[in-house]
């Protein structure tokens, strides 16, 4: 049993490493924060990470397949602008609007998949191009930032469960006894976990998902094994679009608006790749998973949290941030020095 557990940890050493790094950073930050471990700080932390976490998850699935999706940030931005137009009105209209937003991103992802599979274009390039298209569409939808998403929704979705109950007046405005164990949990965290686990865990147990891993690990073997390759590729990009649109939708709710910000889209795409790597997923594909990337996104965010509690020269902050990122991604590399068979370095 011990032996098996050890083997399992070894097989997931990227994830384990990421988790430990995250825990160390997070606990250090919280203990240094004047209001560490309080609901307010947790709420703030989760708000900041949700959009990036969604985009990082969106990135993970194509990466597992051995491709990169350079359009995730752009799809997030596109759906953000869509949401800023349609998530308004009555609760029912808002719900429909949210679904429409998610459908837009999912459809865009599916289109990526179709272009990649039937056009036989490398994902990294295809999505570089479709990302530009997404940004163009976003700019048409929102030539300048704006939109008016319901303030209550914004407040309820970006706070703790208590505020959610209070805003919508259920569970005795958050004072009912049954809800007490949950009142301090940040809503954004719940949204993130429910969507990710709700979609990923079932998906993980399908042949399509297995095919995604298989393609990333050895595409020719997947082909010879008769796995549904085209379906899996399209599914991977479709899911990527879906998760990116979750990010866009949350961003819209969080900011009550839409913004076709090109640089922000680029930043999110690059940060999503960094999160995936920090989370222990191999860019070559085949191993890792979205949960790791979520943790990777947390790590990436926490690095900059420290600037708010430490006194560091503001003009040195970008340098420190860059160095820490470089060191963090290099940590995993220490393993390569222990590799005794140099040929293993090349796979």
């Amino acid at each position: 049993m011990m032996h098996k557990a050890k083997a399992a940890v070894l097989r997931n050493r990227g994830f384990t490493g990421a988790f430990i790094l995250f825990a160390v950073l997070f606990i250090t930050y919280q203990s240094m924060h004047p209001r560490g471990f309080s609901t307010a700080v947790l709420v703030q932390n989760s708000n900041e990470v949700v959009a990036l976490a969604f985009v990082a998850i969106a990135q993970t699935i194509p990466v597992l397949m051995g491709g990169l999706d350079l359009s995730v940030g752009a799809v997030m931005t596109l759906t953000n602008t869509v949401a800023s137009h349609v998530v308004t009105g009555t609760p029912l209209q808002m719900l429909l609007g949210a679904l429409l937003t998610l459908a837009t991103g999912t459809a865009f992802g599916a289109m990526n998949g179709v272009i990649i599979v039937y056009g036989r274009i490398q994902p990294i390039i295809a999505t570089l191009a479709t990302g530009a298209i997404a940004i163009g569409l976003a700019l048409i939808l929102r030539p300048s930032p704006g939109g008016d998403i319901d303030g209550d929704l914004n407040w309820a979705a970006t706070n703790a469960v208590f505020d959610l109950a209070e805003t919508y007046g259920f569970a005795d405005d958050g004072n009912a006894a049954w809800i007490q164990p949950f009142v301090n949990i940040p809503v954004p965290l719940i949204i993130l976990l429910v969507i990710v686990l709700g979609v990923w865990l079932p998906f993980k147990r399908t042949v399509t998902c297995r095919t995604i891993y298989a393609i990333g690990s050895a595409e020719s073997a997947a082909h010879l094994s008769g796995l549904p390759i085209a379906r899996a590729k399209i599914a991977a990009f479709t899911l990527s679009g879906f998760f990116a649109s979750c990010g866009g939708l949350y961003l819209a709710v969080q900011t009550s608006s839409g913004n076709a910000d090109i640089t922000q889209a680029g930043t999110y795409t690059l940060n999503s790749i960094a999160s995936v790597v920090l989370g222990g997923t191999s860019l070559m594909g085949g191993s890792g998973g979205p949960i790791g990337s979520m943790i990777g996104a947390f790590i990436l965010r926490i690095i900059s949290f420290f600037f708010r509690i430490l006194s560091i020269d503001p003009l040195l902050q970008p340098l420190i941030e860059g160095v820490v990122l470089l060191v963090a991604v290099s940590l995993g590399a220490l393993r390569t020095f222990r590799v005794k068979n140099k040929l293993e370095l090349f796979r």
């Binding site: 708000n47 700019l139 608006s257 090109i262 003009l315």
Partner: protein
Amino acid sequence: GPEIVEGPGVDPACFAPWSDETSFMQWEAREGPFRIAVVNGFVGNTWRIQMIKTAKAFAEDPSIADQISEFKVVSTGTDAPAQLGAIEDFINQGYDAIITIAVSPDGFDRVIRLADRNDVVLVPFDNVLDTDKVMQINEDQLAMGRMYSEFVLGELDANGVTGGKILEVRGLPGNSVDRDRSIGINEVIDAHDGDWEMVSVVGMWDDGSTQKVVADAIAVHGEFAAIVAQGGTNGMIQAIQDSGHPWVPVSGEAENGFRKALSEYSDDGLAGISIGQSPGLVAIAMKAAVSALEGNVMPQLISVPLPVATHDELEDGKNFWSDLPDNFFTVNEFPPCGVNISGPDIMAQDETDLN
């Protein structure tokens, strides 16, 4: 949160209300010294670096130093959640005032609500918010656009030019500052009775891009009667020079390089107006934050006078410096506000010398 009160506000010479309709705000007075944070967005350009240096230097300035007990500056990049998160973090940490350059004119509802609940003074400046719920500080971008056009049209009138092409070099697409300046520019030109054809290119407020698009435009359109640029003006001058285009009336930002060129070539016929967004705005924002915390009545929207200089008003060592780099922004000080940290002081010296 603040109360909406009747004017007039404190120290109107420094904190000038935007217009007659501007409302006034008042927070409950508290005891200093205060904890103040600046949450910047993007950091990789000279303007922002100069702004951050000004902020740090001003925090040490005797006129305000003893009212500030803790001062922190962070840059979040162009990432809305990160910027909102940083503001919220400082609210959680119990900071008294938070000064910010918003990455987007929208989307701050939540932190405004939080700031009000926690009695934190939130002061956006430069890129301000499309809201009247917070105290903000800016130069009037619309007026700036109008002045750009008025100046070049005035020059053209004086030279007896009644028609032709005018090149407009725009900034970052989707940005509200770009939008406002462009509206101002076009409004005035449309209203003029000359026969003008507008050609508009996107220079991203960046010297390189501007130089490229202006060179392109000159290559294709031949000659322009005037060039109205909002930024990247060093690049515009360079492109005019390299293409051999005659000097025509131009407008532009307040970079040192542009002013150097205006002064150098004004005898050859280069006429220009330089109006800049000043990195020194941050100092006024800090001052306004402290004033608000002290319980003074403050205008909701504070207008900082436009620092205008035309080619005939330039004076070396005063409003530009011929021996200093092109990129830094000449206008940094606002004497009516007691903000006297000049551009060369900020950029030419090491911080340690300054303090």
